[in-house]
Symmetry: C2
Subunit: 457 residues, 2 copies
C-alpha cells in the first residue's frame, strides 16, 4: 500500500476548535481527485502552480459540502515535491471529515503519521535531521525550543553531521588506498595522517555529544523533583513556582505518573515539576513503594530541589537517606528563614544552597532565578541554541564513537594487516552517521522515526 | 479602535494539536505588514491576487521564526472583501503565537470574535443570515446540521426572508399610497388587496416559524431526559444508548450541570441525554433540591423517556408525580419484559409506549428507532433540511408577526384614519425582518451576534 504512487490525504488542522480546516492531498492524482470532488470557475488540473482557487466541495449526492479555497502546489515545488492540493474549508469537525471522506471516495488513501514529511525526505527536499525538525517545531513548548527546531530545519545541524560524514568517507578512501601499497611501499606518514584525521573526527563527535543535555532540556523540558520532609514547604514551593509562571498548565501527556507533575515555563525553559508525594509519610518510616517511586523520580530528575525548614532541626535519619542520592544534581532550598532558628546553610555547599521564605515574593523571584541559573549552567544552555542533538542522534553518535575508538586502537598497533579491520570499523561509523542524516536509511528506521509525527504533517 | 481601516490579525487554527497553523490578516495594511515581517523571493505587495508565496517569517532579531506559505488574497476578491494574507506555518502553539506577535508588532491589532465575517457582512459579501451560517458550519455536530448551515450560507434562508421583506415594502408603499386619496376616492378593492397581501405575508411567517424546532434540534441537539424509579434501568438505558452510537463522547461545554449529561448522534441527529440523578432517592421522599433539578431538566427536555419496570407494580405515588409533567413529550419505556409480571402498557398510550428488555440487543435497536421516529415526527425533521430558522430568527419573526396581526386587526376595522397606525405596525415588522437579514442593523446587534463566533472567523 505504502508506495509513492499513492495519493495521500489527511486533515492537517486540529480537532474541533479551529476556524479554518485544511485537508491536504499529495501524490500524482492530487489535482484530479480535487477536480472530481469540487466545482470551480477554473479547473484545478489547469491551474497555474502556486495559485488559489475559489471552489465548492460537492458531496456524492451532488450537493455542496463546503465553500473552500484550493491551494494548488505543483511538483516539484511543493512541500513533498509532489503534486499537492490543500483544501481550506470553513472548519468544523463535520465539514473537515466530509471533505476528507470525499477525497478517499475519489481515490486518495489516508496518510500515515508524518507521511508528507517522509515523502519530502524520500524526494530529497529534506534530510532526516530537517524532517525531525519539522515535528520538533510543531511540538515546541518554548521559544528556545522553536528556535532550535528552526535552526535544525534550516540545515544547521545537517552541516555538522555532513562534515563528519564527508571526513569519514575521506578517511575510508585513504585507508583503502593503503591496501594497494605493497608492504615495503607503505609510508608511515600517510598512516599518521589517517590517525590524526580519525582523532579530529572523534573530537567533533565528542563536541556534538556534549550538546545533548541542551537538546534534552529544550525538547522534553528539565525534570525537577521536589523532595523533603513533610511540612517544610514542598507544596508551597510547587504552587509558588506554578502560580506566576503558569505558561504551560497541562501535564505533559504520557508522563504523568502517580506523583503530581506540573509543567511551567521559567524564563523560556520548560520545567516539569514533580512533587514526591511518596516521601510525605512521616518519621522516615516510608513504605517501600513510596521510597521506590521517589527514588525513580530522583533518578530521572535533572535537578532535585531539597526543601529544608529553617525553623526545625535537621533530621539525621532523613539526612542519611538523602545523602545516598546524587549530590551533584541537588539544590538545597532552605525555607522559613522568617522564623529561622537553625543555621542549616553552615552544613550545606554554599553554591548549592538557597535561603529564603517562600511566603516572600522577592525571595520566590530570587529562587526562580537561582533555579534558572543552575539549569542553564548545568546544561550549558546558550542564548541561541545551535546544532543541538536529540536522543536518537546521541545513541547513533555513541555507536559511531565506539567504532572509531576501536579503529584508533588498531591504528596504534600499526600492523598493516589490520587495515581491513580498521576499514570495517570506519564503515560502521559511516553507517551510524548516515542513519542520522538519512544518507543511509531503511524502511524500518523511517517507520520508527515518522511514527512519532502527527497525521497531516 | 474598531474601525474598518484597522488591519486585524488572528490565529485561525486551533490550539496545540494541528499540523498546520494559520495566522489571518485583513485590512488595508495586510500586505505591507506581511512584507515587513517576512522574506521571500517575490514581495507580497507585488504579488498577483490569489497566489501562494514561499517565505520565512523573520523575528525582531532578524532570525527566522518559521518557514511559511503566504496566501495573497486581494480586495475585493477575498473573504472580507479587503486585502487579506493568510500565513500558513508549520504549526505548533509557539510558532503561531510568535507569528501573531510579529503581525501585531508590525501594526495589526488582534481581531475580535467573528470580525472577519463581520467585515464580510459590512462589505456586502454576506447578509447576516449567511454570516450566521458560517459559524453554524464550524459548530455543526452532525451532517444534517452541516447541510442546513451550508444551505443557509448559500442563501437558501435569505431568499425566504427577502421575499417577506420585499412584500412588506410593497405593502407599505400601497398603504401609503392610500393616504394620497381623498376619502371619497378611497377604493375598497385596494384596501382588500392590502389586507390579502398582509395575510399572505403572515402565512409565510407562520410557515417559517414552524421550522424552528428543526433548527433547534439540528443546532443544539434534542435534549432527552431519562426519568423513572430507581433500578428500573435508567442507567442501563443511558449506557446502551451511549455504547453503540458513541459518536460525540464529550459533554457539550457549558451545558453540563449537576446531572449527568452525555451526547450521542442517533442516525445523524445529535441527542443530549440527561440522567435525572435527583430522582434516584427512593420512596418518593425526594428532597426538594432533587425535585427542583429534575423538574428543570424535564421542562427543558424535548423528549422525556419514562422508564418503567415490567417486573414491578406501578408506583401510585410516583405516577401521581409524573402525571403533573408534560404528557405530550413523554415516551414510556417499559423495560425488563424478559421477567415481565405486570402489563403496564394497558394503562399507557399505545403510540407512546415501547416494550422490551434493555439487555436484548434487538430490543435496544428497536428502542433507538422508536426514539428517532418520535423525534423526527415531533420536530418534523425532513430528509434534507431547507430554510430552517434559529432562535434569534424566531424571536424577531414573532415580533414581526405580532405587528402584522395588529395591522390586520386595524384593517378589519376599515377606518381610514387608522392607515397611519397600520403603517407604523408594518414599519415595525419591516424592521424586525430587516434585523434578521441585516438590511437593518446597528452596532449593538452586530456585537451581540458576532460575540458568539470564534476568533479568526
Amino acid at each position: 500500500m505504502n508506495t509513492d504512487s499513492d495519493t495521500i490525504a489527511a486533515i492537517a488542522t486540529a480537532g474541533s476548535e479551529g476556524c479554518i480546516s485544511i485537508v491536504r492531498l499529495s501524490g500524482p492524482d492530487a489535482l484530479n481527485i480535487t477536480e472530481k470532488i469540487s466545482r470551480s470557475a477554473k479547473k484545478p488540473t489547469g491551474a497555474t502552480p502556486n495559485t488559489v482557487l475559489y471552489a465548492h466541495i460537492v458531496g456524492s449526492d451532488g450537493k455542496d459540502i463546503d465553500e473552500v479555497l484550493l491551494l494548488i502546489l505543483r511538483a516539484p515545488k511543493s512541500y513533498t515535491c509532489e503534486e499537492m492540493v490543500e483544501i481550506q474549508g470553513h472548519g468544523g469537525r463535520i465539514s473537515a471529515a466530509r471533505i476528507m471522506r470525499r477525497c478517499l471516495d475519489a481515490g486518495a488513501r489516508p496518510a500515515e503519521p508524518g507521511e508528507f514529511t517522509k515523502r519530502a525526505f524520500l524526494n530529497g527536499r529534506l534530510d532526516l535531521l530537517q524532517a525531525e525538525a519539522v515535528q520538533d517545531l510543531v511540538k515546541a513548548q518554548s521559544e528556545a525550543a522553536a528556535n532550535m527546531a528552526l535552526e535544525q530545519l534550516e540545515g544547521g545541524l545537517s552541516t555538522a553531521f555532513n562534515e563528519i560524514y564527508d571526513a569519514l568517507i575521506h578517511l575510508l578512501a585513504d585507508l583503502e588506498a593503503t591496501l594497494d601499497f605493497s608492504e615495503e611501499q607503505l609510508l608511515l606518514p600517510v598512516y599518521d595522517e589517517i590517525k590524526t584525521l580519525n582523532i579530529l573526527i572523534m573530537n567533533k563527535i565528542e563536541r556534538l555529544l556534549k550538546t545533548w543535555p541542551q537538546g534534552h532540556i529544550l525538547r522534553e523540558g528539565a525534570s525537577i523533583a521536589i523532595i523533603g520532609r513533610p511540612n517544610v514547604g514542598k507544596s508551597t514551593l510547587l504552587n509558588r513556582l506554578l502560580d506566576k509562571e503558569r505558561a504551560i498548565v497541562s501535564p505533559i501527556p504520557g508522563t504523568t505518573r502517580d506523583t503530581i507533575e506540573e509543567s511551567i515555563l521559567l524564563h523560556g525553559i520548560p520545567l516539569r515539576l514533580t512533587d514526591t508525594a511518596g516521601m510525605r509519610t512521616t518519621e522516615c518510616h516510608v513504605e517501600r513503594e513510596g521510597i521506590e517511586r521517589t527514588r525513580k523520580t530522583i533518578q530521572q530528575a535533572d535537578l532535585i530541589l531539597h526543601v529544608l525548614d529553617a525553623s526545625q532541626p535537621l533530621d539525621d535519619e532523613m539526612q542519611a537517606f538523602w545523602r545516598k542520592i546524587q549530590q551533584n544534581k541537588l539544590l538545597y532550598v532552605v525555607n522559613k528563614t522568617d522564623i529561622k532558628k537553625y543555621n542549616h546553610s553552615e552544613n550545606l555547599p554554599k553554591n548549592r544552597t538557597y535561603e529564603g521564605s517562600l511566603l516572600n515574593n522577592e525571595d520566590v523571584i530570587r529562587l526562580k532565578n537561582c533555579i534558572y541559573e543552575t539549569i542553564t549552567s548545568e546544561f550549558n544552555l546558550p542564548d541561541q541554541p545551535h546544532a543541538v542533538i536529540s536522543e536518537r542522534h546521541r545513541d547513533l553518535l555513541q555507536l559511531a564513537q565506539r567504532s572509531l575508538k576501536q579503529a584508533d586502537q588498531l591504528m596504534k598497533e600499526q600492523i598493516e594487516e589490520k587495515t581491513i579491520f580498521i576499514s570495517t570499523h570506519v564503515r560502521d561509523a559511516i553507517e551510524q552517521i548516515g542513519k542520522i542524516t538519512g544518507r543511509v536509511y531503511y524502511e524500518e528506521l523511517l517507520d520508527q522515526l515518522f511514527a512519532g509525527f502527527c497525521i497531516g504533517k
